[in-house]
């Protein structure tokens, strides 16, 4: 055959890994400087705070982007999964009788594992059930139908928690002791370190799962072309359910983190958080898991930057303003639509 292989679609030249790393480092330095100017000796703490908040948004954003990637649905109920996750962990910890920091490290680790496992599994199952009951039948319906259904599911979940659990702010046990650690020149609170390590660990695990495993390939192929995936023997119902399980479990993990880090939760917390995490997913390029993680951190920084500059009231405006800017100049988001792209 002819030697010239004409690419079907022109693609952006791939920037080298080193270049990407350089860009990230430069952006982080710039962010640090922007945070440091008004906050002075609080700079380091604020920087860590931004990464932590970003990690929470990133965990939620992954669920939005995965579900969008595979069935092109903006799952507006996803923020509520996060909220329910925070209540599951609150319920578990208070039922077990914890109200404050646990000083015994082994007990602490055990309780953390339990809290995350329970919340992630429960929310994963809730996500699967929602997909089965509310979205599956609408898979071939016009796009507006499942979208409105998702908003409806979101209200249902909020109202269940509102009626059954609590109609006001609930204090959650902050079981991780308030300890300042010194990592070389960096001073970081134990809770921040824990959240960042956990979130990054989950994200790396997710990337490996999607990129390297057979089920990950099934998910990607279903996202690219559902019919073709079926012809390979992929059961798309199972694959879509799996996607909902993983995305919801990550939001469940974010819910536990919410309780541990902020010490409070409330029935309508999922709305704001969900909206911002959705923005993170779009910023990064909806359908693209790396993009969602990146978008989460961008939003964490935007929020902290607007608050250290004394403009905390404007943080929403800054976040959504950034969304508008990115969409105007780069409609596919920072990294483009990887998962959702069609051949």
């Amino acid at each position: 055959m002819s030697a010239a292989a004409t690419p079907v679609a022109r693609r952006r030249p791939r920037v080298g890994r080193l270049n990407n790393l350089l860009v990230i480092v430069l952006v982080l330095i710039a962010a640090y400087v922007i945070i440091a100017i008004p906050s002075g000796d609080q700079a380091q703490q604020q920087f860590v705070n931004a990464v932590t908040i970003g990690a929470i948004y990133a965990l939620i954003a992954l669920g939005y982007t995965m579900v969008y990637g595979i069935i092109e649905l903006i799952n507006f109920a996803h923020g509520e999964i996060f909220m329910c996750g925070s209540f599951v962990s609150w319920w578990l910890l208070t039922t077990l009788g914890f109200s404050g920091a646990i000083s015994d490290p082994i007990l602490l680790i055990g309780v953390l594992i339990l809290a995350f496992a329970v919340s992630m599994v429960v929310m994963g199952i809730v996500g699967v059930v929602i997909e089965r009951l509310a979205y599956r039948r609408l898979r071939n319906a016009p796009r507006l139908a499942p979208l409105i259904t998702a908003i409806g599911v979101s209200f249902i979940l909020q109202n269940i928690v509102f009626v059954v659990v609590s109609n006001s702010i609930v204090t959650t046990p902050q079981i991780i002791p308030n300890t300042q650690l010194a990592l070389g020149p960096i001073s970081i609170n134990l809770i921040n370190l824990f959240v960042i390590v956990l979130a990054v660990g989950l994200m790396v695990a997710l990337q490996l799962f999607i990129g390297r495993t057979r089920l990950g390939r099934a998910m990607r192929s279903t996202a690219i072309d559902r019919d073709a995936a079926q012809l390979m023997g992929v059961d798309i119902n199972t694959t879509i359910a799996l996607t909902f399980f993983i995305g919801s479990a990550l939001a469940g993990a974010a819910g536990v983190v919410q309780g541990l880090y902020f010490g409070i939760t409330v029935f309508n917390i999922g709305f704001q958080a969900g909206l911002k995490a959705f923005t993170a997913a779009v910023l990064g390029g909806i359908g693209n898991t790396t993009g969602a993680a990146l978008g989460g951190f961008v939003i964490g920084f935007l929020e902290v930057i607007s608050s250290v500059w004394g403009q905390g009231r404007w943080s929403e405006a800054v976040v959504f303003g950034m969304l508008v800017l990115v969409l105007v100049f780069r409609p596919t988001g920072i990294l483009g639509q990887q998962l959702a792209d069609r051949a």
Binding site: A5, R220, A228, L231, D235, A343
Partner: protein, 252 residues
């Protein structure tokens, strides 16, 4: 072009139990009656071609056989069992491989990953190794490009990948939907050579084609579809001689 050159000897009276039998199938897209009573047989070891104009129902027939669609009435039997309502992903393990219209490769996945998708339901490592070797022997080009994204391949290479991917399911029956579409004449020849090779290695083939000349060159038998109905079914040799077929499909 001598269409008959190198063609397998036509089976005039295919006997025995058909590998695939579609009996009076009717299928709809909404209210559109796309298949209006298709009856066809494919016997083990045959190459059968389905010819017809655009919109005649060729692709729909293949989609119905491979389980992507289900007929409203009629039955499909494969390898002795009723598969009329078996979903596509289950048919793969029973031995139906389908390289769909428009290739439908996974553009963002590498060539190797595309082939691994073909092997999705299979776990025998030794067999898989053999099949990867077989596909790479049929399409050496795919080995060279195995780490490249499928979407960056040329049209011909994508078609090879689509066929290779279907072969990785180790099908008893390979369904090919317009393998020549959009390819240069040289590539079309190559693809049909490969179809002969695949058949020679023991796979039964049902191929849908617009390029009737090439298709009747490799096939033993053929069916002509018109607006959802089979209007003619005969040996490839007879179809080539048929004046109406010549006029409508062979540019004679």
């Amino acid at each position: 072009m001598t269409a008959a050159a190198g063609a397998p000897a036509p089976v005039d009276n295919p006997g025995g139990v058909p590998l695939l039998r579609a009996h009076d199938i009717h299928a709809y897209y909404g209210h559109i009656h796309a298949l209006q009573g298709i009856t066809l047989d494919v016997f083990p070891g045959e190459i059968v071609t389905l010819l017809g104009a655009n919109g005649a129902g060729k692709t729909t027939t293949l989609r119905t056989i491979s389980g992507l669609m289900h007929p409203r009435t009629g039955t499909i039997t494969f390898d002795g069992t009723d598969i009329t309502h078996v979903p596509a992903h289950r048919l793969v393990t029973r031995g139906v491989g389908h390289a769909p219209e428009g290739r439908r490769i996974f553009g963002r996945m590498t060539v190797l990953e595309n082939l691994q998708m073909g092997a999705y339901t299979r776990h025998n490592k030794a067999e898989l190794e053999m099949d990867f070797d077989r596909v790479f022997a049929l399409f050496p080009r795919l080995r060279e490009r195995s780490s490249q994204a499928g979407g960056t391949l040329s049209g011909g290479e994508q078609q090879m990948l689509a066929i290779g991917r279907a072969l990785m399911t180790r099908p008893k029956l390979l369904l090919l939907d317009e393998p020549s579409m959009g390819l240069s004449p040289i590539l079309v020849e190559q693809i049909f050579d490969v179809i002969r090779d695949i058949h020679a290695q023991g796979t039964t083939v049902l191929v849908v084609e617009q390029n009737a000349l090439m298709a009747l060159g490799v096939a033993h038998r053929g069916y002509i579809l018109q607006t959802g109905r089979i209007v003619l079914g005969d040996t490839a040799a007879n179809l080539r001689q048929n004046p109406e077929v010549q006029k409508a499909y062979l540019g004679g």
